[in-house]
């Protein structure tokens, strides 16, 4: 995906020069390999800072919330779906946006790569088409990108932007298997007791840093429930019940809105697969309401509306 970099620089320069946008949001190469940073530029002369490869997994939609100026933004499939959700939820207006669409072939899981090199420090990363090369002080290895995709990217059905003003390349095929929710199903088949153990163990590492929340474009409330003290909805300690409550509520606030972009999981410093919560909700929302978030501007998420024919079998 390296080749998108030049095009992004060119478009950004054009948009800023012509005054189509006031600011352009993209990525810059990270100071640490495989960790690209978000970048906002206003000066058409600084477009060289823009960069693109398969490590651009932080969700740029986060930086749109509440902006009043005109913005150019690069968007993959999932980011574009979050932009749609943002527009539907009044966080930004379509007319402010110039969306530069990127057909996405998936992002690399930096954790998987680190595991593959046995935890040795990687000091250089180089993408070479379908492969990529990582170099350390005393080693160098080449991997197939497809073997190291983030787990959400591996089953991504919507790699192409759903909303854009300009596309950077040809559309790419999305995942067509019917096992998108295989991981959720595996958990569902466990006994109630085992599931309880599974999730309790999973979050036992959580340090309540809220990086998952901060990385999530859906989490834009002025005051988050975790920071509220009157009433205190959830305790601030790392008591397992409080931690579970936090994860539950965070996930539930995303119900019907989550695009499974994976930003939360990538942001987690402890490597907790927090998508296990949201993905279960995504699965249920799809089954109950035939809904996937951010595919169109016409409809609001299912939990925002009431219809006579809504599923009510659980109410007696």
């Amino acid at each position: 995906m390296l080749h998108y970099t030049e095009k992004i620089r060119e478009i950004a320069g054009r948009l800023l020069k012509q005054g189509v946008v006031d600011v352009f949001i993209g990525y810059r190469k990270g100071s640490v390999p495989m960790m690209n940073n978000p970048l906002l530029i206003r000066d058409p002369g600084s477009t060289d800072l823009l960069y693109w490869d398969s490590n651009c997994a932080l969700n740029l939609c986060n930086y749109l919330t509440g902006r009043k100026d005109r913005i150019g933004i690069v968007a993959t499939g999932c980011v574009s779906r979050n932009i749609v959700t943002h527009i539907v939820e009044n966080q930004i207006s379509r007319s402010q946006l110039y969306v530069v669409g990127i057909p996405c072939t998936g992002m690399i899981s930096h954790r998987a790569v680190i595991r593959a090199v046995g935890g040795r420090e990687i000091i250089e990363f180089e993408e070479q088409g379908e492969r990529f090369l990582v170099r350390g002080r005393d080693f160098e290895e080449i991997f197939e990108k497809n073997d190291f995709l983030q787990s959400n990217c591996a089953v991504c059905r919507y790699p192409n932007p759903v909303l854009y003003d300009e596309m950077l390349g040809e559309r790419v095929p999305g995942y067509e298997g019917d096992d998108v929710y295989r991981d959720v199903e595996k958990v569902e088949q466990m006994s109630s007791e085992d599931r309880r153990g599974f999730f309790s163990r999973m979050i036992s590492r959580c340090i309540r840093c809220y990086a998952c929340r901060d990385a999530c474009p859906l989490c834009y409330c002025p005051t988050c429930f975790v920071d509220e003290s009157r009433p205190q909805w959830v305790g601030k300690s790392i008591d397992p019940v409080d931690t579970m409550t936090f994860h539950l509520l965070r996930a539930f606030h995303c119900a019907g809105r989550c695009t499974d972009c994976g930003a939360c999981e990538r942001a987690c410093p402890m490597g907790i697969p927090v998508r296990q919560f949201t993905k279960k909700l995504n699965k249920d929302v799809q089954e109950l309401f035939s809904w996937e978030a951010g595919l169109g501007l016409e409809q609001r998420p299912p939990l925002d509306v009431y219809r006579q024919d809504d599923y009510d079998g659980f109410i007696r």
Binding site: N90, Q91, Y220, C221, P222, F225, D304, V305
Partner: protein, 1077 residues
């Protein structure tokens, strides 16, 4: 003003006051036996002796009659004083060693036995009695004799005819020496309390009853001593408000009015006329009205059920029905009083609840008439669950067993034998009759009466009297129960309202609302009022303990408990307390806010408090009623509920209410008699109506009916009504139309009508539901298999089409309760008994030789319909009762219908052939769930709509702006449907006429600092109340239009950001309640 020293403290008094008065005012206690505020002091008992220092020396004076002077020093409790008093008490004790008050005093002064020779007197010669007698303007008693012979007596020491038996002397005597019987020639008895049916006494100045409106005392001129002698006037002296004016005279007020409504009610039949029952002789034979007081928590026994003769708890109670009803032998009341069966069942059940399991209750009846809504279920429960015995037998006489005061009730049992049962108490279920004064009044007004001396009316105008402009409602229209009376009251109001509609609002006075106090920023001062609700709460929960507990809670400034917190006088004292203690938050621990919140809130408004600074703890429905078995836990729970309520109320803030326009159009659903009447009544009051009927024509079930029981031709009257509706320019009729959707709320409904696939939207302020009911298609007695088996409506159709075919019939049989009063449909269809008898009589008219049988369970010809029953019996129609267990069997035999029935009178099976079998098929509701959902109104288990309140709100729904009438409510005859339609309209007009309504202050609000502008609230709100602000500092954030908001809270639940909150139910308030749970 005189200043002097009392026990060293500087005090002040007026010139002419005595020491005792001033001391009392300053809370210094001085004992006395002969002092009374209303009387000049006499210094007779010497007990009030005090020490007086005049600057030079001390001496002893009696405080009661020693006038105060500037600079004196008084000591009330020195050793000297005590020693002196002790001697006085000792002497008194020697004279009256058995008098309790003296013994108590002796104890106080440490005297065990007097040193003097003991006497056996009980008079201390204080002279209070003689002085009060004088004050009463009389002189029946005085102190006579000298020295040791001095005593209180009458002239010549004989019973006096001067004495008026007022009892003042008895009431002031401190020792209990005075016995009125010894003084007076008159019989001594308390003034009977009218409210308590004479079961206890009252005073000449009295408040009629606790909930009286207005709750002001009245003076009974016949017993007040001032009106008898011109003296006394003690009340004037003691009323600090100066409210008493004996000079008031009756005034004649002349009013010019456009309509008159007669609601004089009934009087209970006086069973003293029935000698065979011995009511006048035996106190253990009581009327149902008296028994009602015996059961009441505010009654003479505080709800404790006892026999009047000896105060013992009865173990066996009998009710004797039809006393003064359905009787032309011993009185002239041939009609049925309609209500006695139901009230007897109710009294029996309540008596059993009060007395616990041991009490035996038996009701002796002729026909059990529980034809009201949900009454039949109550009757079944009384019999099956509570074990009340029901015995079908008319009681000829009641005998008293002299020794025990027990009562012997003879009756005929199922085996036709006369047996006798003993009871401790007999309740005579007395009937309703029109009082002689009311008959007089009717004569004066030129209003015609019926045979039973009730007001004569027309079934299609059930509250219009024979004189134009005069209307009637309640028991004077005919004997009836509360729901029907309330319906008629509405109906009469609607009729009168139609006459007066032009003058509407021309004489209205605007109520001045007291200025609301701004209590923001004040220190919290919570008032907690714990209600006893008679024995409803206090019988289970320890109310005093809850009250005292409440006093210990933070911020609670004032606590009280009341017998009935909802009574008028309590409301007034509440207002006073709020003002006096400057309370700014109120908690009432009582019943349900559903019925009483508004009342208490109004009281708060009257006291100048914002009505939302209020919280109710439901310690009745949610506590004492459900935890009757466990008073301790119930008390603990009551404390919990009060603590939660206090926690919440301290966080409440004053709220404002918004105003809303009321659309002046009405929608009536259903074009039967009820619907059409409602439409006409609305039109008559000047409102536009949209009348919707699903059928092709107007008329509803009435189209199938032949004749009223009073003889009117229904079809002719129905045609008139339909023509009137069609010709009414205020009414738009939509035939073949159904409702597709209802949006909006009270004052602003938007309803989609669907007429043959075409949709039309109408806007209206109110809706009347009059969708009716239908006749059951029976599944028994060969119905549908043999053409000779027909239902009522089918027979009526035959009457209307071709009577001649019916003339040839030799024998006709009616079977009652077909599908009614059965386990799967446990209600009475109310109209069928009358209908069958009316049809039977018509058959007899067609062919006087025809044999007509009516097979019945109970004949329920209530009210004056009873005449029809009597007429039928006289016409030779035969009535055979059957029970649910032994229903008649119908089969086909040799060309005729063969009917088998067990005759309990003959004790044998009867088989008869018949050419016509008429089934009194049940009336079944449509049970329209869709309509119920659209208007958010409930259906009961049987499928009838549920009114707001069975007694007080029979023609409206709990949902604002939606009203109810006709058979959709319950089966009823045409006159009752008409009355209810008019009643529904009068309720609706009270809303429409206001033109604006205030919405609740309990609405959602947005904290813009928390709002993330996501718009979920805008999307989820069914009333479209939230919108996004377009300008201002918070542009883009949500805001709520309080007029549109109904306070449902859906936005609050949906708001992820926590920006939405429901006023009065804020997070902090609810969390506080949870935290204090």
């Amino acid at each position: 003003m005189i200043t002097f020293k009392l026990n060293g403290r500087e005090v002040q008094g007026e010139e002419g006051e005595y020491i005792l008065e001033v001391a009392e005012r300053y809370g210094v206690e001085i004992p006395t036996l002969c002092h009374h505020k209303a009387l000049e002091p006499a210094g007779a008992c010497r007990l009030c002796t005090v020490e007086l220092f005049d600057g030079r020396r001390t001496r002893f004076v009696t405080a009661c009659n020693y006038p105060i002077w500037e600079g004196m020093e008084v000591y009330t409790d020195t050793d000297e004083v005590r020693r002196g008093r002790k001697l006085i008490v000792e002497l008194l004790l020697a004279r009256c060693p058995e008098v309790p008050i003296i013994r108590r005093l002796a104890e106080d002064y440490g005297i065990e036995e007097p040193r003097f020779k003991k006497d056996e007197d009980d008079c201390i010669l204080c002279g209070l009695c003689t002085r009060i007698c004088e004050r009463m303007g009389n002189g029946a008693i005085s102190l006579a004799g000298r020295g040791v012979g001095l005593k209180v007596t009458t002239p010549f020491e004989i019973q006096s005819d001067l004495c008026m038996a007022c009892g003042a002397c008895v009431s002031v005597c401190p020792t209990g020496h005075i016995k009125l019987e010894e003084i007076t020639k008159h019989t001594v008895k308390p003034i009977p309390s009218e409210y308590d049916m004479g079961l206890r006494g009252r005073k000449p100045i009295y408040v009629p009853y606790a909930q009286a409106v207005p709750n002001t005392p009245v003076i009974d001129r016949d017993t007040c001593m001032h009106f008898r002698t011109g003296e006394c006037k003690i009340c004037v002296q003691s009323c600090s408000a100066g409210a008493i004016d004996h000079a008031q005279q009756d005034e004649a007020i002349e009013l010019r009015v456009g309509a008159i409504i007669l609601a004089p009610g009934f009087q209970a039949f006086d069973p003293g006329r029935y000698e065979a029952y011995g009511y006048a002789e035996n106190p253990n034979i009581v009327t149902s009205m008296e028994f009602e007081r015996l059961l009441s928590a505010s009654g003479p026994t505080m709800g404790h059920l006892v026999r009047p003769s000896d105060g013992k708890e009865p173990r066996r109670i009998a009710w004797v029905q039809c006393v003064g009803s359905r009787d032309v032998h011993r009185c002239d009341n041939a009609y049925c009083s309609s209500v006695c069966c139901m009230y007897a069942v109710k009294q029996a059940v309540i008596a059993k609840e009060h007395a616990g399991g041991e009490l035996d209750c038996a009701i002796f009846y002729m026909d059990m008439r529980t034809h009201g809504k949900d009454f039949e279920r109550y009757y079944n429960d009384a019999r099956d669950k509570h074990g009340v015995r029901f015995i079908r037998s008319r009681i000829p006489a009641i005998e008293t067993v002299k020794e025990t005061g027990e009562l012997l009730v003879p009756y005929v049992n199922e085996k036709e034998r006369v047996v006798e049962e003993r009871f401790d108490l007999v309740v005579l279920s007395v009937g309703l009759e029109t009082a002689a004064e009311v008959v007089e009044l009717a004569k004066k007004l030129g209003v015609q009466l019926t045979e039973g001396r009730f007001c004569k009316t027309d079934p299609f105008r059930p509250v219009a009297t024979s004189r134009e402009g005069i209307f009637v409602c309640g028991a004077f229209q005919g004997p009836k129960d509360i729901p029907q009376s309330v319906i008629e009251a509405g109906s009469a109001a609607a009729e009168a309202g139609a006459l007066l509609s032009e003058g509407r609002n021309s004489l209205t006075l605007t109520r001045e609302e007291p200025q609301e106090r701004d209590c923001r920023g004040e220190r919290l001062r919570v008032g907690v009022f714990v209600c006893r609700c008679g024995i409803n709460i206090a019988g289970v929960v320890d109310v005093e303990a809850v009250r005292d507990y409440a006093a210990s809670l933070p911020h609670v400034e004032y606590v009280a408990d009341n017998l009935y917190t909802c009574s008028q006088d309590t409301q007034e004292s509440l207002t006073e307390v709020i003002k006096e203690k400057n309370l700014n938050r109120i908690v009432v621990a009582a019943c349900t806010p559903k019925t009483h919140e508004a009342l208490f809130q109004e009281t708060m408004a009257n006291a100048g408090l914002n009505k939302y600074l209020f919280e109710m703890a439901n310690i009745r429905n949610q506590d004492s009623w459900v935890h009757q078995e466990d008073p301790e836990a119930a008390t603990a729970k009551a404390k919990d509920l009060v603590r939660m309520a206090v926690a919440k109320v301290t966080l409440l803030e004053p709220l404002r209410e918004a105003e809303l326009e009321v659309n002046q159009k009405a929608l009536v659903v259903g074009g039967g008699v009820a619907g059409m009447t409602a439409a006409r009544a609305l039109s008559a009051q000047g409102y536009e109506v949209c009348l919707v009927e699903r059928a092709q024509s107007l008329g509803g079930q009435a189209r199938n009916l032949y004749r009223m029981w009073t003889g009117e031709n229904i079809q002719e009257r129905l045609e008139e009504l339909i023509e009137a509706v069609q010709g009414d320019e205020n009414i738009r009729v939509h035939l073949e139309t159904e409702l597709g959707n209802v949006e909006g709320f009270v004052g602003n409904f938007r309803t989609t009508l669907i007429c043959r696939g075409k949709e039309e939207v109408v806007e209206h302020g109110i809706a009347v539901i009059a969708t009716g009911a239908q006749e059951l298609k029976p599944k028994e007695y060969l119905y549908g298999e043999d053409s000779r088996v027909v239902t009522h409506l089918e027979l009526d159709r035959m009457f209307m089409n071709d009577e001649s075919a019916l003339r040839g019939i030799k024998r006709a049989v009616f079977i009652q309760c077909v599908g009614s009063r059965e386990p799967e449909r446990p209600y009475c269809s109310r109209v069928c008994c009358t209908h069958s008898i009316e049809s039977a009589l018509h058959l007899k008219e067609l062919n006087p030789d025809m044999d007509v049988y009516i097979l019945y369970r109970d004949i329920r010809t209530y009210g004056e319909r009873e005449y029809l029953y009597r007429k039928a019996r006289l016409a030779g129609i035969l009535f055979i009762p059957f029970s649910l267990e032994r229903k008649p069997r119908v089969s086909l035999g040799q060309g005729a219908l063969k009917i088998d029935i067990w005759d309990p009178l003959l004790c044998q099976d009867i088989v008869m052939n018949s050419d016509l079998l008429v089934l009194a098929a049940a009336i079944v509701p449509y049970g329209d769930q869709k309509l119920a959902r659209m208007f958010k109104v409930p259906l009961n288990e049987d499928g009838f709509f549920v009114e707001a309140h069975a007694k007080l709100g029979p023609s409206e729904f709990a949902t604002d702006g939606v009203y109810l009438c006709g058979m959709a409510h319950y089966p009823k005859p045409i006159d009752e449907s008409v009355a209810q339609a008019q009643a529904a309209v009068s309720r609706a007009v009270t809303l429409l006429a206001r033109q604006k309504i205030k919405t609740s202050g309990t609405v959602a609000e947005v904290n813009p600092l928390y709002c993330s502008s996501c718009g979920v609230c805008v999307e989820v709100c069914p009333y479209k109340a939230p919108t996004m602000r377009e300008q201002g500092p918070f542009a883009g954030k949500a805001e709520v239009n309080p007029v549109l908001c109904k306070g449902c809270g859906i936005c609050v639940a949906s708001c992820r950001s926590g920006a939405m909150s429901l006023k009065g139910f804020g997070n902090d308030q609810i969390m506080a309640m949870i935290a204090h749970m």
